[in-house]
């Protein structure tokens, strides 16, 4: 089993609406969860907007799919790396992001945050440790 597990990182760099990249990436992530792989997500550049709070798509006529990120914990995807510099460059802080959590099976189902703030240099190191990096 352990020999078959690969480390996958999905790197999200684009704003959630206007193109279909963010939604398509999220769907691939949810499908990948069915294969028991080690999956993590990274959000950098405009990708950080994908997980901001209180998204409202009424004016654009597009479906607001942001609630689906809250289901990631149910899919055992609980490593969401957010690049610190990207947030700061856009005037955002962790408080602007959705409260994304998971329940830790090994710790009596305690609810824990999935979002981890990392610097650009740390994110580069994390990417270096992956078997597969898919960016969109």
């Amino acid at each position: 089993m352990s020999d078959d597990v690969k480390k996958f990182m999905f790197v999200n760099t684009k704003a959630p609406y206007g193109t279909v990249y963010a939604l398509e990436s999220l769907e691939v992530v949810l499908i990948s969860a069915a294969f028991d792989q080690d999956v993590s997500l990274a959000f950098c550049d405009d990708g950080v907007f994908q997980i901001t709070k209180n998204q409202n798509t009424e004016g654009s006529g597009m479906k607001n799919f942001s609630p689906a990120y809250k289901a990631l914990g149910d899919y055992d995807i609980n490593k969401l790396y957010v690049e610190k510099e990207s947030l700061e460059e856009r005037g955002l802080t962790l408080d602007n992001l959705m409260d994304l959590t998971y329940e830790d099976e090994d710790d009596d189902w305690a609810e824990k945050p999935s979002i981890k703030l990392v610097t650009r240099a740390e994110l580069a190191d994390l990417m270096d440790q992956q078997d597969v990096v898919i960016s969109s």
């Binding site: 949810l30 069915a34 609630p67 689906a68 809250k70 289901a71 149910d74 899919y75």
Partner: protein, 111 residues
């Protein structure tokens, strides 16, 4: 693409029988879909269908069957949150068939 007729209304479904427009759903739609699949809907079926509709309302996705099982166990108890029980209710797969009856799209992450 085809249609099913419920209470005199023509409702569009795709080639696998899922609703084309999620907003077309009302309880009789589930009854009609179940009749087509030769399933008689009882209270236990409705528990799951209602659960799925609430899940979709909250997360905007139809859960994969593994996620559904876990979530049902948490909300309705272990004796219902297991795949044997759910497959007995929905022989074509609790993810696929129950989501169809509930008017949701085919589950994301269902392979």
């Amino acid at each position: 693409m085809g249609t099913i007729t419920v209470d005199g209304k023509e409702i569009e479904v795709d080639e696998e029988g899922y609703l084309v427009n999620l907003s077309d759903w009302f309880p009789a739609v589930a009854e009609e879909m179940a009749k087509i699949d030769e399933v008689e809907l009882g209270e236990d079926h409705w528990d799951i269908i209602n659960f799925l509709r609430e899940y979709y309302e909250e997360y905007q996705i139809a859960p994969a069957v593994r996620v559904l099982t876990k979530a049902v166990a948490k909300k309705l108890g272990k004796e219902k949150g297991n795949s044997k029980y759910l497959y007995e209710l929905f022989p074509y797969g609790p993810g696929k068939q129950a989501c169809k009856f509930a008017g949701l799209p085919k589950p994301t992450g269902c392979v």
